[in-house]
Structure formats: C-alpha cells, structure tokens
Symmetry: D2
Subunit: 368 residues, 4 copies
C-alpha cells in the first residue's frame, strides 16, 4: 500500500515533480558490497533523457544523477541510496494559461478529484513521465545486482503505430542486440523497420499529432522456481510494476492475447531434455507457468498509448465556466514516447524481479 | 508480500487444495453491519462450479459455501469471515500414474523447482483452478458491499478462439445484460455469436483439445478520483489481482493494445459537459487516466489461454528417466475455461476495487 | 496493515470468535518439507487450554487442533496451513444480561465505537483471549521449524503480584527448565516461589479478584546479524507481536526499564573472546544491539495486567440509560492469566523471529 | 517489511548517514492542502539538535531543514515530501583509529555480521542517533495535521537515573506544560527535580560516564474507536515505532509494568458518565483497551538506556587480533540522550497515530 513505494525486500520510494526542484528515488534493500558504477547509471538515464533526437520532446535536461546517501568507499553499505536529478529547463508559464481547461486523456480531471485542486499542475507535476527518471536510476542499480548473477534484461521497440516487427528474436547475446537497437533513435532491432518507424514518427510530428506503440521485453537466465501460485505470481508482480509507468495500457506474457485464439495442442510448450537440461521446445508460456518461472526466458509485451499532449485542436471543457470549448494546446511533447520508454520498462522489470530474487534468498543481502 | 494474501484494508487469504479437505478463504476488512446473503454467495459459486454444462469438466462438486466465523445475527461484525467449500468428488488415482511426467504448460516443473518435490500434485493441488472458488466467495461479499454504493461489475465472454464479439456494448443496465449472458452456457451476450462459441467448444472437445478466449469486464458507477499516480494506479492493482487467476496471459485497459496503433488525436477522449456533469465523449481510456478513475466506466479485457490439460498425445519428459517421451494424458478437464472464469474475473475486480474504496475512505468501515 | 494478519514471509491470519463456531489461524510461508508433529501442536494447546487447574477459568474446552489444508503425506507442501479448534463449552446467556453495562477495563466501549454495535459481544467475541489459541498453533509450527535450526524459546512466570523471582537464570538447557516449569501450575521455575504464587492466586480468587504478573522469555541460539537498524529492529518486530496478545501492558528488552537508572559504564556489555568466539561478558542488551541480534540469548520481559473480569462489585455505566451504576458481573474467568499466557508469549516470539529468519534467507523455504 | 520504511497510509522512508552528505526522510500520504510551517519544523529540529546545552554532545550542526519536493504554493499537494538536513561538522578521523575495536553495547559487531564489513562505520553511520532528525521532520508535519484535528502530543523527561518525577500530571493545557518543560535543558516539568537531573548529568559527564532515563508521553483528544483487537492494536503500532528509536529498551502503556503488581479491583478503570460523556474515573489503561482507543488520553512511558559511548576505560575485543583489550574510546557524545529524545518520541508517536487516523478515514486525504 502507498502511492509512492513499491516492493518488499528491494523497495523503491519515488518523489519529486516535473517542475519542482528535483525528481528522486530512495532505493532500499540493495545488497551490501555492490560497487556502484555511476557511468552506467548515467548512461541508462541518457536513454530516457528528453531531447535525444528529433523523435523526442524539445525540453533540454542534462539529467545528471546525484547520490545523497548509502555509499561508502564507492560500495553499497546495506543502507538506502537516495538519488536525485535536478529540474533545470522548466518553463511553467503556459500551464497558467491552460489552468481551467481539461487536456483530453490527461490527468487534469482525475487529479482534481483526487487532490481537491492542490496538486502541482505545472508540467503535469507528479504525473509527469519525468518521474520515471527515478525508476531508471533504481533499475540501473537493480541491473548491476542482477548482472552479478548473469541475469540480463533487454527491451526494444516492437511496433510504432501499424509498423510492426513481429520477428520472434532468440536473444541469447544481449550485447549484440543492444548494439543493433542503439543504432536507431526509435530503438528497434531491424534497421529497415526502424527506418519506417522513424518516418512515421516524423510524419505524425509534422501533423501535430502523436502515436503509440508496443515494447517487447526479454529476461535471460532468470532462475527457475521463482514466484508464487496465487497472489505472488511473476505476472502479478511484473504487471503491477509495469502499469505504474505512465501511458501503459496493456501487458501480456508469452503468447499473450494471441493465446486466446489458440488451441491447447498449439499453445502448450512441449518439455524436452536437451544437453541433460529440462526445457521447453518453444516458449509461448513466456517463461512462466503457474505464476512461477520455468527457467526459459521471461517474455512480455507492453502497449504504450499515443502521447495525449498534441498540437491539434481538441474538444474539451472549461471547468471554471463549465462549458464545452475547442482548444489548441501548445507545449513541448514527444510525438511518440515509446523509444524513451524502453529503458523505463527494463528498469521496472529489473526492480520487480530483483525483489523476487531477494525475497526468495536467491540473491543474498551481502554480496560475496 | 506473501503468496496467499492480497489487499490492504480489504484483505483476502487463500488456502486449500484441489484434493485436500477444503478450499477456503479468510476475508478481512469487511465493513461491519453488512447483511450476508448466503443465496447470493451460493449463486456466484454456481457460476464457477464444475459440471454446469457440456462445456465444462465432468468433476461433480456441490461447492456448498460454509461460513466459519465473523457473523453475528447474520450481519458482519468487523471481524474476518472464513469461508470454505469441501472437496467431494476427488479421484487422485491417475495422478500417481503421471507422477514422473511433466504435463506441458502445466505447473509440474516449476512447482518441483519451487517446492522441492513436497507440493501436493493431486489435481494440481494448490495450483488448481479450484482455489478460485475462494476468490468467488470473497468477490460475492465484496459485491454486496459495492452494491450498497451502487457500484456494479459485469464481465462476459468476448471471444472464444477466433469467434469474437467486438461490439462495444454500453452496459448501463447490468441486470438486463446479466439475463442475456446467463441464457448461454458460454456466457456471451449476443445469442448468435454465443451459439458459434458453443459449437466451437463442442468441436474442440471432440478433438480432445482445448481453446482460449477473452473476457471483457465493465464497472459502472465507480467514483472518480480513486487510485494513484505512481505505484498505486488502478491498473497496477487490478492487473496484480487479475493475473493471480490461473490461465490469464494478458490484461489491457480501455483501448488496450489497440491504443498502440492509434494516434493521439484518435485515442484522446474529449471532455464534455453533459447535464451539468463532466464526462468524456468516448472511453478509450477505460475509465482510468493517470492511474486514477475518471468517473467513466472502468473497462478492461483479459486473455485466457487454452486449458493445458488436453487428451491429445503430447511430447514431454519423464523426469525420473530424463528421457523424451510422448504421452496421452487422461483426466477430467474443461475444453474451455472462459465461461467459468467470468465470475472469477468479476470477483477479483470486486475485491481489488473495494480495497481501494476502503483505503480512500469512500466506503466506511461501519455501514450505516 | 490489517487487523488480523501479521508477518511478511511467515504470515499468520487469525479468525474466529469466543462463542462462534471455531477459532482458527491460517499460517503461510511455512517451509516445505517439514514433518508436522500433531502431538506437539496439541501439547502446546494444552498449556493454554482453560480448565487446567484451579488457577484458571472453569470453562471446559478440549481445544482439539484440526488441520484443514497444506499437508501432503504429513509434510508441509509450501501451501498455507489452516488450523481450527471448535468452541464447545459456550454459554452466551449471561452476556445478554450485561449487554448495556460497560465492564470496566474491558473492550465493550471501544468496540462499540469501532464497530458501531455490530461486534459479537458474546464471551468478548473477537477480543477474547481465546483467539490466542490460534497464535499457539502457529507458534507450535514455527517452533518446529526453529528447532531444526537449534533455536529454542522458553518463557516462564517471573512474578505474580508482588511475588517475584528475580534470579537471572542462565538457561542453556531448556528441557531441564521446561521440566521445572511444568511441575507448577503457575509455570514458575523456583518451586518455593511458585508455591507462594499459587497461594496468592488462590487468595485473590477467594476474594473474587484477579492479579497481574510478568513473564520472562529467553531465545537461545538465535543467529547474529538479524534485524535492522531502523524500522525493522528486532525490538520493533517482537513488541508489535507481543502487544497483540490481550492483557500485555509493557515489553522491555535486556535490562529494560532498569537500564534507565543505570550508568553507561554499568550497563555496557563488555565484549570478550572466549573459546575463539566473540561474545559479551554479560547480557544487559538482551541479545540485541542497534536493533540487530548479537548472538547472545534474546531476553525480554512482558507485563500482564490483572484480568479485568472480576466478581467484586464495580462502578460503571448503563449506556442505554446513560447513568452511573454499581454492578457485580458474574461469569467464568481466570483469577490470573499469566500461567496460560506463557505459551502464548513463546508462540508469538517464535512467529516473529521465524519471519525474520525467513526474510533474511537464514532458513530456506524448502527444508533439506 | 523493509528496514527503512514505516507506516501504511502515512508512510515515512528514512535515508542518510551520520557522516554522509545528508540525513533525510520521504514522507508519503500527507493530506493535500496542508500549509507547511517551516518555522515549526525547524523549531522541532532545534529540540533534537546537538550542542543545545552542556548536557548534549559537542558536535555543532545547524540542522537546517530543506524541502526537495511535494510543495506547491507552500501547501502540500498529495505528493510525497522529501526533506533533508546536511551533515556539516563531520570529523571521521577517530573512527579509523578504533576500526578494529568493538565499542561495548554499540552496533559494531552486529552491523559487521549483518552487512559483512561494508557498513559505513563513521559516526555509527546508519545507526547514528542522527537519523532521528528525519523522524523529527516527519513528526513535525504529522503534528501539523493532527493539530488541525485538535490532537496534541506532549512528552517530557520523567526520570534521569534515580531522579524521578512520578507525579501523574493531568495535562489538559499542553502549551502551559510545554513552557514549563522548555525552561529546563533536561526537559522535565518540575523545576526542582529538573535541577537535580541537570546536576546528575553534569556529575556523570565529569566522570566520563553516561546515564539513562525515562520519558512519558501523553496524547490528548485522540478519537475513540481507533486501533484493532488483534495485530493492529494501538500498542503494537506505537511500540513498533518507538522501538525504532535508538537506545529505547522498554515501552509500557498506562500503568505498564506496575499493572503486573496490581489487582483487578485496583487496576480496572471504572466507567462514569460526566457531562453527558462516557469516560473513565482514572486512566490506568492509558487510553487503550483491547488495542482500541477509549477517548481518554493515550499515555505511555519509554525507557532510554545510558549512551553507550563513554570516556571511561572499557574491556573489549580487537577483532583483527581476536584478543581481549582495554580501551578508552574518545569522541563526542551526550552524557544523557533523554532531553534530546523527547521530541523524537513525540515525532514517532505523531507519525504512527496519524497513520491510524488516515487508515480509519477519520482524517481525510484532502483537507477542507
């Protein structure tokens, strides 16, 4: 329970607003003795940072991670680490202008009802995608721990609008796929498809519109036997975390919604012995059966809605006058948030799965 | 945390196994002063009960709900209610036979890894869909509380295999739709489509196979302003609960995965004033924006995989001999679990949403 | 959060009432593979059972433990175990008579305010000491797990009224002390003092009065390095559990309140190396420093108030007439609850400490 | 669960170390619309600040509270508030010198066992009393909310060593008692006794020793009917919080340990109707019966051990050489921590009780 804290043994607490002083995160339960690689944390933030390319918002932020606690001789001590980035490129002027207008599919109305008019509305305040920078910093630290146990997480852009890369990649060598992905500003793997995605985003941007997409995420070397049959299923825990990311509208594991159209004889993953190891011949289960990991790669897909902030004229309500109006909202925004959301999905996945591994005692609370 | 307890103020704790003595649930946090309608609880159980029709397993269970605690003068007291159903039609013989064979896409292997061989494998033990009878009893009580506040939940079969009812029903009058739904053993709304679904299940059953489907769930009159911007989003909490139901492979809200293919100008729900009330002209947001309810109906869809237990010959592994084999598993099973899962989805939805309303103080802990 | 669930990895959920059908407990997180010794659970219940001796209430209950779930081949499976005892010797008649009278220092008034008059008042309902039978069953199972790791818990009656046994016993051999303790109906160690306690209780009983006392609890072989510096201190977790036992008014660790009168030079426990092992020369810290276990025995004391139910005439209020009255409440009660509370304190201590050991991964979730 | 997060609806997350950059706290669940009085927060910090008088450590810290998030137009928004104070007067040199020596009754050994040598030992790092500055900031904000509902918390020094003020003050007018208390550097109420306490501390300080004491805390106007019969008792929740404060060795409610020596006829609080209101004639129950508040003042006492850091020569172990040694530890410390702990006890009490009131919906999540 609690709007801003997630996890049990690996627990993150988020704070900060889009136009406040900082966006931050407190990370608790990090095993002691982990060397913190600040370059890695920073490089992860870079992947989420606004202003990376034409495909992203024009807000310019250095997003420099600063550690406030929990390190001693550059190693974790078992104490919580607090991390912040500052908000520098803040322009709150236009929010005054639109103060009484409900932006369609934005949080204005529901926030008003929840917080009685006291919420910080500048840059969407606490609802801004910017708070996911905290998730990314926590995810970076989680990844450093997971990497020590050879567990690796990789996400990529599977689709933008109708441009879909439906290839079922067998991602054994994540470094290779990472290199492929980072070649393209849209973070897709196939360069031809990536090009089409880029063009689509460019076109949508020109039309003052936005577009959605899907992300696929794969986890390699996740141990078998983790998760629970009932309320602690890996799917429950991962989806709880992933739906905390703004703009996510769907989460599916393995064959997902496609499974709903399949027969058992087709969907069932046959067990095989191969090199003395038990595995499945295919992985429509997405590495999870009965809520528990099977040792096969964990695979899930995430649906991201089109950014609600668009330049086009929209119908809405002036809440002060209680009348229907039509408005062109101005402001900086991403025509497509998917490329920047990739590292956020990876981060949340890392946070949730590390929590499970610590709870199960697979990863100890003091590193050897 | 905890494999078998869910929720904060409205908290359910599940226990029992498929072939043990009982399946049960402890329900804590029920407001005091609620009159318990046992007929309603029983009628909800009937919708999940095996052996309702040709479309379901041949296991015959009366599933009679029995209350062990928490009632005084037939009203809730504020104390936890423990409810059980007994397991009567238990035939554990065949499980011995298949003891060393991993049933494809069943939990045998992951359970073995998690519980070291100590798990009760008879009838899938703790992993059996039968434990959802406990969810249904908790959901029935949650519904009784919600109904006092005019909040109603309705789910139906949206698709079986490729037979899809994609109509966007505007379900204002739930009683009417409930009557329509209960006319058909597959629990679809449109009788023509329902007929096709029935035929498909019949065919699949004849082929000793199984089939998946999707469920759509709608919540009417849910108050606005409930949920949280970050880790306590309505989507996070609902998906956490829904993915606790065996066989669920995907959850999507509002337009869901379809949103990934849409533009902002198309997906955004325009705000309008109508009869002095602020609402949206359409509901692709599924009643939730920024993790918080908007006052529009909450809408989500759930993907259900085909039952893994099928009669067809399957490839698998004998774990004792560590060799690849081909087996025809015999046993009672549902060719399609979707019709029986409808009430389980409703129940879990009721449990999760009531918890939110109690946390927010919208529903008091003592009924007036 | 939650009135009736305690713990994280080892989680207990309490249900039932004094005059309802059963008192029960669901125990989740028990390591798989533990052989359940029903005789031990029953023998623990015997120590709490009413009607053991003259010193206890005249209610006669067999308190026979019945397991509803979670066992397979008499071993734990990793699934939750639900346990109940039935209420047999129930006489609710007199509660009607006193319905409008607030029994002094009993829960009538605060329960009325919390539950709005819907609480089951028969035999104090949910507030009855009888619900601790559930704690004892959970504690018995926790002890079985702890014993596998050589961790043993022992509590005894340290004082009844002004009769105090202030000896600082060095309890290495718990079996020996257990034998001593069980020789006396008051569960003290020193037979001379025990005799005086017995006489005092007898006298108090004759006077239709009741009397309080203190319990000392010792935990041997608890591993060092368990607990947390801040909110997860061993003291925090133990006191949270112990104060859940009705009638507890104080909890102190090591020197406790006596430490408040001491100097640092006197209270500090010097470290010494002895047989190659680091330990302290004395144990005023009660085995816990900085919230974390030191490897020395964990020691704490618990203050138990005199049973509020007495036969003497008492001043109180008739809430229907809102007038001051003087009443002789009749009913069965213990003149001193301390001897029956010994096993409850041990049980709660076992439950809390096992949770910590499971969280820290010291005890694995599958027994070897 | 979690070493550094406490609470459910009002949740605090602690971070920072004694000699790190900052000590901080994230406070979540503050009702929206609360005006933040920074002067009040600062004045509370002053009461805990080192270097207030001769009776405290010589470390000089301005302890200036800085808010990082959660405010908009100087009001709370419903978002979490992060607060930090900087560590300025840091001298870590001497900690190197004593690195291999276990300070008696300090956390060196247990921390070593828990964190495997990675903990920050400078100034006791995460175990320093300095982290309670975060509790005080959270408590100050909790008090601001409680004050809006007329709930007030007041603690004072009841004893230092054998100098005890055992008067049972009826603290209706907290402002008056606050003035009395703040006249004395030891924070006692009776000026004659306060003088003796001061002299005792001075004497103990001259002897390079330290001394313990007790704190009494009173809560006025706390609503009746709050808390729970079982695991959510007010005593459980308060003691869990209070034992999180370093140096606390005991907590007792109402008559506390004295109740163990009383008879029921003596301890029972008679109910009376007075001015049309039901109350008790005395308050040995400390405002809590059956774990639930009665509407009478909540009263509890806390035992504080003598500061373990003393200048006197002490026996201990050199863990590198594994040999017994005798050492004079040097360093700044408080000869008696009680006067500075008063505001910490009040703060933790405020944090815990506000959480209960928010959970019960007595205090809404948006202030009117």
């Amino acid at each position: 329970m609690g709007d801003n804290t997630l996890g049990n043994k690996f627990k993150i607490t988020s704070f900060g607003e889009s136009h406040g002083e900082v966006v931050g995160i407190v990370i608790d339960g990090i095993p002691a003795g982990l060397e913190i690689n600040m370059e890695f944390i920073q490089s992860e933030l870079e992947k989420r940072r606004p202003g990376q390319s034409n495909a992203t918002t024009s807000r310019r932020e250095p997003d420099h991670a600063k550690i406030l606690s929990g390190l001693f001789n550059n190693k974790t001590t078992g104490a919580p680490i607090a991390l912040v980035i500052e908000n520098k490129d803040v322009d709150s002027s236009k929010y005054e202008k639109f103060k009484n207008l409900l932006r369609p599919s934005q949080v204005d109305y529901s926030a008003l009802k929840k917080y009685g008019g006291f919420a910080d509305y500048r840059g969407s305040g606490r609802f801004s995608g910017r708070i996911t920078a905290g998730f990314v910093m926590a995810g970076a630290i989680a990844k450093l721990v997971l990497k020590k146990h050879d567990i690796e997480i990789f996400a990529y852009t599977r689709s933008i609008g109708a441009v879909i890369d439906d290839e079922n990649y067998h991602i054994h060598d994540i470094d290779k796929y990472l290199t492929l992905r980072e070649k393209s500003p849209v973070r897709a793997i196939n360069s031809t498809i990536a090009k089409k995605m880029e063009e689509l985003i460019e076109k949508v941007k020109d039309q003052k519109d936005s577009i959605g997409g899907t992300i696929k995420c794969v986890v390699n070397n996740f141990p078998e036997g983790i998760g629970g049959p009932v309320f602690n299923s890996i799917e429950s825990k991962l989806s709880e975390g992933i739906f905390s990311i703004p703009a996510v509208r769907g989460v599916e594991f393995g064959a997902g919604f496609k499974a709903a159209g399949m027969r058992g004889s087709e969907h069932n993953d046959p067990w095989i012995v191969k090199n003395g190891k038990i595995q499945t011949a295919k992985n429509d289960s997405g590495g999870i059966i009965g809520g528990i990991s099977t040792g096969m790669p964990i695979e899930f897909k995430v649906a991201i809605k089109p950014t609600p902030t668009i330049g086009k004229s929209q119908k809405t309500v002036n809440i002060k006058k209680m009348e229907n109006v039509e408005v062109e909202f101005t402001g900086r925004h991403d025509p497509c948030i998917v490329p920047r959301a990739i590292v956020v999905v990876e981060a949340m996945c890392a946070v949730v799965l590390l929590d499970q591994l610590l709870i199960e005692g697979i990863i100890p609370s003091v590193l050897k």
